[in-house]
């Protein structure tokens, strides 16, 4: 297998993007404690700069690789597994003893996730600058550290590095929920931590085993041997099925908790309800994607045969999740909890796509991750804005909101349409491709999953009717409409909802090119493992 990395810029852009927030966090620590405005502004500036860099990265990402005419020869391979903006460019850096290396890189899938992370990180801080006034400096520091952790997860090429970032993103989360959270924040934090740690502890063990069993034999004890490097592992002969299954199980569990896949989802509603708004946005918008990304990036190519064997189970759980999440969402009385359960449903579609093992499913699943980040991120922002006004998220407390907050209602409606996958919005493109992929893999699973369109409409419109229509009642009365800065926070999300819905090529093109290439690899690897 030919794997290459390149860095057309010759400049460590990725490291800059990943560590800029961390540097920013250090900077915040130096600022005087009481200067809330200054602290907010600095954090925003750092996140904004990071977003600009991510845009530069996305803009200079070479899509030409996907063009059959220009691909392959020039880079020695057909895109996909070729990572751009590798940093360091050629050889990984020795980082820790044991061959643990440092190298970052992005392919078509991770580059859009980096962009999503930078965008949501910025918007979350923008929202926070309007509404967070408690221990501001600490808050900003943790948010920025979290940002570095998440960006690292999406760019790390060494699995150990990946693990470090993975855990690094957990710690800020703990503090953010436990300090700035709601009334039952401690319980929620406990649950979140226990769940996630149970998953990642297993992953760590599996990771070490993977390096020893798979990576180490490739290059032995050579000084430039990096047994945990993704490329080393990809180049290794595949493991026997039983071993694959064990390791796959350990990794998949950690990722499934994060996604969250039914029945590992019960931390999510609590964490969401207790987390402050901006953290919910990050949690739903980015953190859940780490699970999907992990499955897509590592579980499928490294354990192809086990993944194929386990696919029916994943498809089943995905379909259950789609139905179950939607169904439970229907019964919710708290808006944030409703959105949380809708996440379970939407992420089920992502898993359906990923485990369909075809281009449409894989690309659709990856796109759906982005879409879910945008629409659910926006939903959490909206619910948060409402909460800041009325100090309630209970559906029963509201009614007739359209008459009081027309702008808010329109934006909510747009996001709602995206969430239920109305054509013309991003939700439709991702959902359609995922369903099509799922349908190709398994007609029954795809067909059952497609019923999600009915369920989604049912709970979302039911919510909308109760909160926005009817006579003005309860806490709705007299609420001020969206302010300028709030509109500004929501604007990028609304624009992207339509952009991706109408002209998805901008982000679908790199995603699908990478998905197609990875699929080729997984396909052949699975066959090799099958004994060809």
């Amino acid at each position: 297998m030919l794997l290459t990395t390149s860095n057309a810029l010759g400049f460590p852009l990725l490291s800059l993007i990943v560590f800029l927030p961390l540097v920013g966090a250090g900077l915040l620590a130096l600022l005087p404690k009481r200067q809330d405005g200054l602290i907010h502004a600095t954090a925003l500036f750092i996140a904004g700069l990071d977003l600009v860099l991510a845009l530069v990265l996305f803009g200079s990402f070479d899509r030409g690789w996907a063009d059959p005419a220009t691909q392959s020869i020039q880079h020695g391979m057909r895109l996909g597994a070729g990572f751009q903006f590798a940093d360091p460019e050629r050889l990984p850096l020795n980082w820790l003893p044991g061959g643990i290396s440092y190298q970052l890189g992005v392919d078509g899938i991770s580059v859009v996730l980096v962009l999503l992370t930078a965008l949501l990180g910025f918007l979350a801080l923008l929202f926070s600058s309007l509404h967070v006034g408690h221990r501001v400096r600490e808050y900003g520091i943790w948010m920025l550290i979290l940002q570095t952790g998440m960006l690292g997860v999406f760019t790390a090429l060494d699995l150990f590095l990946f693990y470090v970032f993975w855990e690094a993103s957990l710690i800020p989360m703990i503090f953010l929920i436990a300090i700035w959270g709601g009334r039952e924040r401690i319980y929620a934090t406990f649950k979140f931590v226990l769940y996630t740690l149970a998953g990642s502890a297993l992953m760590l063990v599996a990771l070490v085993a993977l390096g020893q069993l798979m990576g180490r034999p490739v290059c032995g004890s050579a000084p430039d041997c990096h047994p945990y490097h993704f490329f080393t592992l990809l180049a290794a002969p595949s493991l026997p099925l039983a071993t694959q299954a064990l390791l796959f199980g350990a990794f998949a569990l950690a990722f499934a908790v994060k996604v969250p896949l039914f029945p590992f989802h019960s931390w999510l509603p609590d964490a969401h309800v207790q987390a402050p708004t901006a953290v919910s946005v990050i949690l739903a918008g980015v953190l859940l994607k780490m699970g999907g990304y992990g499955l897509l990036r590592f579980c499928l190519p490294l354990f192809p045969k086990a993944a194929v064997a386990a696919a029916p189970a994943f498809l089943l759980l995905a379909v259950i999740g789609i139905w179950y999440g939607a169904w439970v969402a229907f019964a919710q009385t708290d808006m944030k909890k409703l959105v949380a359960y809708s996440s379970v449903s939407h992420m089920g579609i992502v898993i359906l796509g990923i485990f369909s093992f075809n281009e449409q499913g894989l690309a659709g699943g990856a796109l759906q991750m982005i879409n879910h980040g945008l629409s659910t991120g926006a939903l959490f922002l909206l619910v948060g804005m409402l909460y800041e006004r009325a100090h309630s998220r209970q559906i029963a407390d509201f009614g007739g909101l359209w008459q009081v907050m027309p702008r808010f209602s329109v934006v909510f409606l747009v996001v709602l349409f995206s969430s239920v996958g109305l054509p013309g919005t991003n939700g439709f493109v991702g959902e359609w491709l995922s369903l099509l992929g799922g349908f190709r893999a398994n007609m029954l699973a795809g067909g059952l999953a497609a019923f999600g369109v009915v369920l989604g409409a049912a709970y979302m419109l039911w919510l909308y009717q109760r909160v926005f229509f009817g006579p003005v009642r309860g806490k709705s009365a007299g609420l001020p409409d969206l302010t300028g800065p709030e509109m500004l926070t929501l604007l990028p999300l609304v624009v992207l909802i339509f952009w991706i819905g109408i002209y998805p090529a901008t982000i679908l093109q790199p995603i699908q090119a990478a998905a197609t290439e990875w699929l080729t690899y997984i396909d052949s690897a699975a066959r090799l493992a099958a004994g060809g």
Binding site: L194, P423, R440, Q465
Partner: protein
């Protein structure tokens, strides 16, 4: 100038209206307020702007139509058609590709297997670039005989792809999934399954364009949508002029016209689906336009969710279509339908059956019709535009458009006719007892849509489309007329300074029991309403007469050989009678006799913006059948739409026309005798008593809503609660908490370590992990 280059402009104009009203208006409004003595933009301007843009779209459509006819004439001459008859050939469909909407995957022939006795196949490079079905095409060129053998096997050929689940990547495909020439038996009788020549497999390219298509059918729909749409916009200026939400109203209306145009112009199933869903969303917004009333909002939601149930089937149909054809383009799918769908095969039945279910949702057919009567909660022009003339006919349009797929499954076509007949009869029965002027029309619409389905199902899609067109004229007229009459009644009540209560939940101005004599009070509206009603009842010579009877005729023609169609024909006749009856009843109750309330007594006619559209539509209800004249062999519809929708050009015979006339007069006569002015020969009350049981059922709409509520809605809600409180909180979470408590309980033993602070936990976990990792490194390093 080739106007077709500007085809995109037709939907773009109303879209621009929507965007201007939503995005620019508030800004411009605020700006104008800042001017000295500025009072903001006049709200009525929004209405005129929206109307003008739809009018422009109509003008452009007219231009496109003229060019279409012109091109057809030229093409006809070029093709050497007999010029004596002056018949032109329909031009080729024009497809305008705007941009690539979605594109996933590379073109690749993944598996190339071959019959060994076809040496030419070696010329197909394995892994060649090109969609998998290109291989099939190649085979056709290379060896036509091979394709013959392939034809019946195609259905089976696709089975692995469709049913094998994950097998494509799985283990049981030999030699890396590539069935090579070597792996097949060398010669002779290879089973057809093994002879699969190009088997599309895991690597497919899915691509779909934003593309518009102009042909006879879409042109017709284009003219109906923009034409009727324009008139209804104009009418709305009068009807909605005093409403506070006028800008919102017109922005929705423009968005609707845009969506409907996408639906009828789409060149592939997915663009059609865009329009299909967006019109549903607009319908949702417009039904709940006066959302302060929870009942309206609930009606909108019901419409959307019921529609989505149909859309669910539609989506599955689309996925199946793509699985079979590797494309969603109309041109590709319809031209390949005969090759790829064996007549009566499982897929050939499944695809149109699912499409039918989708159509039943959008076009309010049994069993999904329940949303449409409630949809009357929206403003009346909306009922005219969306829930009578355009959106609800989308199912008919789609089935006519996709007739190539329906033709592959005669059983499904029969089902279309049965669904149509049942719906038509059921809705007509319900309509006979309603007293809400809009509700009668709503059930009448459902019933007439059933007629259109009968036409499509009988293989006379053209008749169905013909009826779609005439129905758009006279039903829009009736709804607008009803709106105008309600307006007049409101005025009357206002004038008399009365505020009557609703009876049976029906607001006074739309209660037919309080009307009467309105023909005199509001003459323009009254007379046009009368014309519309007569057209609906099938009064000889009016638009509805021709189109409805072409459908009845088509059913009759098939009834000789097929007993099912005999039954359907009789049902259609009965429905036609009921239609004439309930229409006559409505006309009598509304227009004739003495006023039965101060509202009716003091009513006055509406302003010209409202009556002008009525007059135009009344004219169309009289002469609007000419393009589809069943008596002419080469009517416009027969020449240009028939090639698109396929099937027979029905026509009409003298006996059929006589029967239809007799039935129309019988129904109207009965109604006149029972409800007409003067001495009543039939006592309506005794009639009601005679049919008390049916009447009660019909009055309560056969309890279908209650039935659905008990069977689906209530259990759904109960289960939702159960899943949440019992399963999720109780079981899933309970288990987690139990594990958690167990952990904590164990931890009590190590209490010294437990500080109870999350920070400490995180820290210790991190430290622990690091120690472990270090240990392993040392191991690794050393060994």
């Amino acid at each position: 100038m080739d106007l077709r280059d500007y085809l995109w402009l037709v939907p773009a104009l109303p879209l621009a209206g929507f965007l201007i009203l939503v995005l620019l208006w508030p800004w411009a409004d605020a700006l104008s307020r800042r001017l000295p003595a500025g009072r903001g933009l006049p709200p009525m301007l929004a209405g005129w702007l929206a109307t003008a843009l739809v009018g422009a779209a109509f003008a452009l459509s007219l231009g496109l139509g003229a060019q279409f006819l012109n091109a057809a004439a030229i093409a006809g001459e070029d093709a050497g058609h007999e010029p004596a008859e002056g018949v032109a050939a329909a031009p080729e469909p024009y497809v305008q590709r705007l941009w690539t909407w979605m594109e996933v995957g590379r073109d690749q022939v993944e598996v190339t297997a071959a019959r060994a006795d076809l040496p030419q196949l070696e010329e197909i490079p394995v892994g060649a670039v090109g969609p998998s079905w290109i291989a099939v095409d190649t085979v056709r060129q290379l060896n036509p005989k091979a394709l013959e053998a392939l034809g019946p096997a195609m259905g089976r050929m696709w089975q692995p792809e469709l049913t094998a689940g994950l097998r494509p990547v799985g283990a049981d495909i030999p030699a890396g999934g590539l069935v090579t020439l070597d792996s097949l038996p060398p010669s002779g009788d290879v089973a057809l399954e093994n002879a699969a020549i190009a088997q599309p497999r895991s690597r497919h390219r899915f691509a779909v364009d934003m593309a518009l298509q102009l042909d006879g059918l879409s042109l017709l729909m284009l003219l109906v949508v923009t034409g009727v749409g324009f008139l209804i916009h104009l009418y709305s200026i009068g009807y909605m002029g005093q409403d506070a939400g006028i800008r919102r109203y017109f922005s929705y209306l423009n968005l609707f016209v845009f969506s409907m145009l996408m639906l009828v112009l789409g060149a592939n199933f997915l663009v059609l689906f865009v329009g299909w869903e967006l019109v549903g969303a607009c319908s949702y917004l417009l039904i709940g336009f006066w959302h302060q009333d929870p009942a309206n909002a609930a009606a909108g939601r019901k419409a959307f969710v019921v529609n989505r149930i149909g859309d669910f089937a539609f989506i599955i149909a689309l996925m199946l279509i793509w699985s079979v054809f590797g494309s969603l383009d109309f041109a590709r799918v319809f031209s390949q339908a005969e090759n790829l769908l064996p007549l009566g095969g499982a897929l050939a039945v499944a695809i149109p059956a699912l499409l039918l279910f989708g159509a039943a949702g959008k076009s309010a057919q049994v069993p999904l019709y329940v949303w449409l009567p409630d949809a009357m909660a929206g403003p009346t022009p909306v009922s005219a535009l969306i829930h009578a003339a355009t959106m609800v006919t989308a199912g008919v349009y789609m089935s006519a458009r996709a007739h190539a797929l329906f033709d592959r499954a005669p059983v499904v076509l029969a089902a279309v006719a049965v669904v149509g007949a049942l719906t038509a009869l059921l809705a007509a029965l319900i309509a006979t007892v309603q007293v809400d002027i809009k509700r009668v029309l709503a059930y009448s619409t459902i019933s007439q849509l059933g007629f259109m389905f009968m036409g499509v199902g009988a293989g006379a899609a053209l008749a169905g489309v013909f009826h779609l067109m005439t129905h758009a004229f006279f039903k829009a007229l009736l709804f607008l007329g009803a709106g105008s009459l309600m307006h007049a009644m409101e005025h009357g009540f206002h004038h008399a300074n009365e505020h009557p209560q609703s009876v049976d939940g029906i607001p006074a101005p739309q209660d037919m029991r309080r009307m009467g004599g309105l023909l005199k009070r509001a003459p323009v509206t009254g007379w046009t309403f009368l014309i519309g009603g007569l057209a609906l009842a099938g009064f000889p010579g009016l638009a509805g007469f021709w189109s409805k009877d072409e459908i009845v005729h088509a059913l009759h023609q098939r009834s000789a050989a097929e007993p099912l169609f005999l039954a359907l024909w009789l049902m259609a006749l009965l429905t036609a009678f009921l239609t004439a009856y309930y229409t006559g009843r409505q006309l009598c109750m509304v227009l004739f006799g003495a006023p039965r309330s101060s509202g009716a007594a003091e009513a006055s006619d509406s302003p010209w913006v409202m009556t002008l559209p009525l007059v135009v539509l009344a004219l169309l209800s009289v002469i609007g059948w000419l393009p589809g004249n069943p008596l002419a062999e080469h009517s416009l519809l027969a020449t240009y739409v028939l090639p698109v929708v396929g099937g027979e050009h029905g026509g009409l015979d003298a006996a059929g026309a006589a029967t239809a006339t007799a039935i129309a007069f019988a129904g109207l006569g009965l109604a006149w005798l029972a409800f007409g002015p003067g001495r009543r020969l039939i006592d309506a009350d005794r009639l009601a008593q005679r049919f008390a049981a049916v009447r009660r059922l019909a009055w309560n709409r056969f309890y279908v809503d209650e039935f659905y509520d008990r069977l689906f809605v209530a259990p759904f809600k109960r289960l939702a609660d159960f899943f949440w409180r019992v399963v999720d909180v109780g079981m899933v979470d309970g288990l987690v908490n139990w594990v958690g408590r167990l952990t904590v309980g164990t931890g009590q033993l190590l209490r010294g370590w437990q500080s109870g602070q999350v920070r400490a936990y995180a820290l210790s976990v991190l430290l622990g992990a690091m120690v472990l990792v270090w240990y392993l490194f040392q191991q690794a390093w050393g060994g």
